[in-house]
């Protein structure tokens, strides 16, 4: 494909899904939504097939339903804007350009589950957005009051800790503690912030929820595939011919994706950030981007043949080793040992076969670690060492 054809194809895809960055009248939407029954709202979200856009992909409607049914004094809605996954940067733009839509999504959720307080947990690296978001929250709090919705929203700022994006660590952090993940269950819908029922959703999930109530669930369902309905905002970086933030339908295969965004020499794509899987060129055509294939919070990092996958893996492992909260042994010791292990193979201190032992360790971490950080390290580790084994020692 030449660049004109690429651009045309891309425009075609983008026309199919134009939800997140489309301007709508959010006040009108809110007025309309709060006149609907909570049950109707929740049913619409369930019917739309919307699954969480933060990575784990839990059905959003069921989460809302769980929180609605939970017994609790006061209920909370939290917008997860911690966006720390390497290679992900779409929430920054959504929050910046579509602040009203995200807050409206939170308010609709609050109406549906009967929550009275909302927080946006913004990562410290995005503090430049803080004053704008706080001002918007104030404006909306007045609107809520005018419209008779008992709901108040505010912003909390993080302080540079990737693990705080994990929902229970995020609650700990909001409560003024070290951001150490909790045991689950209880799940946040039963005991979240302040141990009260809490809906926590990603920025993009909340914006989509608003659009589903605006347009109805049918049009959302019509985009994507059976298992991955709707659109997704992708963050595209690395050796890409076009980089940046693009909203596309879910369910494309990786070959189609690379045809549009690659530089004709793409040897691998890391899907889902450093905790996602690395897909080699030979598997592009058979790999679906979506919950039935490789799920992603949106991070798509492309590598061409000049890149050393050893360096990529080493960079990820340094990241995990630094960001592990250290609370549980499999992750704390495992991250260190995997990093030391590949360095030892690289330097020749250990034979290449030592990689098998390291892969076993990553597997053990995936079942024995307390939270998703330690559990998901097996994704990059085992995919990179499987498909690019020889690059680890040369």
């Amino acid at each position: 494909m030449n660049s004109d054809e690429k651009a045309k194809r891309l425009r075609g895809l983008q026309e199919k899904v134009n939800l997140i960055f489309r301007e709508i009248d959010c006040i009108e939407l809110l007025e309309r939504a709060i006149k609907e029954d909570p049950e109707t709202i929740i049913q619409k979200i369930i019917d739309s097939g919307l699954r969480g856009r933060g990575g784990a992909g839990f059905p959003a409607g069921l989460k809302w339903k769980g929180a609605k049914e939970a017994a609790g004094g006061i209920k909370y809605v939290v917008c997860n804007a911690d966006e720390g996954e390497p290679g992900t940067f779409k929430d920054r733009r959504i929050l910046d350009e579509q602040t009203d839509k995200v807050i409206t999504g939170m308010a609709i959720c609050a109406h549906a589950v009967n929550a009275t307080e909302g927080s946006i947990y913004l990562r410290g690296e995005y503090n430049f957005l803080l004053s704008k978001l706080s001002a918007k929250c104030n404006t909306w709090n007045t609107i809520f009051k005018d419209k008779g919705l008992v709901f108040k929203v505010g912003v909390k700022s993080g302080s540079g800790a990737y693990v705080c994006g994990e929902e229970t660590a995020l609650f700990e952090s909001m409560e003024g503690k070290r951001g150490e993940p909790r045991n689950k269950p209880p799940f946040p819908v039963i005991a979240g912030y302040m141990d009260e029922p809490t809906v926590i959703n990603n920025v993009e999930t909340l914006a989509y929820a608003a659009m589903i109530i605006a347009d109805g669930p049918e049009s959302f369902k019509a985009i994507g595939t059976k298992d991955s309905m709707g659109g997704k905002v992708f963050s595209i970086s690395g050796d890409a011919s076009v980089k940046g933030i693009f909203e596309l339908p879910l369910g494309m295969n990786l070959q189609e994706f690379v045809d549009l965004f690659g530089d004709d020499d793409t040897k691998a794509v890391q899907v889902g950030g450093s905790s996602g899987v690395c897909v080699p060129r030979k598997n592009f055509a058979d790999t679906i981007i979506g919950f039935e294939g490789v799920p992603t919070g949106g991070s798509m990092m492309l590598f061409n043949s000049t890149r050393s996958m050893y360096h990529v893996l080493e960079n990820y492992l340094e990241f995990f080793e630094e960001e592990s909260c250290g609370q549980c042994t499999p992750c704390r010791a495992g991250c260190q040992q995997l990093l030391k292990g590949i360095e030892a193979v690289r330097s020749g201190e250990k034979p290449l076969s030592y990689i098998e032992k390291l892969r076993d360790l990553a597997q053990v971490m995936s079942v024995a670690s307390k939270c998703g950080l330690g559990q998901s390290l097996v994704n990059p580790f085992n995919s990179i060492t499987r498909y690019f084994r020889e690059e680890i020692c040369y």
Binding site: T88, E125, F128, K156, G176, R178, S237, G238, S274, F319
Partner: protein, 154 residues
């Protein structure tokens, strides 16, 4: 402002409920750039908590520094995308211009140079933060210009 004034201003602004501990520590850092032992003790007293617990919280977060920092804290993104976009050359330019290595603070306490994990600008790397302000699409020349701006600034 004196340290105890800073702490009392923060406490007045946010209160001493446990969930306000991070906002209070963040406020102190915004004024002082780091949390000294005296600052931690002051906050612990205001919150009626042990200093060890306050230190435990502060030391968990990379932006709540418990070591002295300069007026301008520079954090260069070290994640893969920025690395591929030429982060090493940026680091060299910073180190050469400031005459310090990563992790160090200049003798005049004006600049601290650090690395940080993904800051969310992967398509526009290399990127760095100077306090809360973001710079993207960096080149070694641009970095020197930016530093000179800060050096002339105050």
């Amino acid at each position: 402002m004196m340290l105890n004034e800073i702490v009392s201003t923060a406490v007045k602004k946010f209160g001493v409920g446990r969930e306000q501990l991070l906002p209070v520590l963040q406020y102190v850092v915004s004024q002082e750039k780091w949390l000294s032992e005296d600052a931690l003790l002051g906050v612990a007293r205001a919150f009626d908590m042990s200093a060890a617990e306050v230190y435990g919280v502060a030391s968990f977060y990379s932006f709540l520094d418990t070591k002295p920092r300069g007026d301008y804290v520079i954090r260069v993104c070290r994640t893969v995308s920025c690395d591929m976009a030429g982060k090493e050359a940026i680091m060299e330019a910073l180190e050469k211009t400031l005459h310090i290595s990563v992790g160090e603070t200049t003798a005049d306490r004006k600049f601290t140079l650090l690395e940080t994990n993904c800051m969310g600008w992967c398509a526009e790397g290399p990127a760095m933060l100077v306090n809360d302000y973001v710079y993207t699409g960096l080149t070694p020349e641009k970095v020197v210009d930016i530093l000179q701006g800060y050096m002339a600034g105050a």
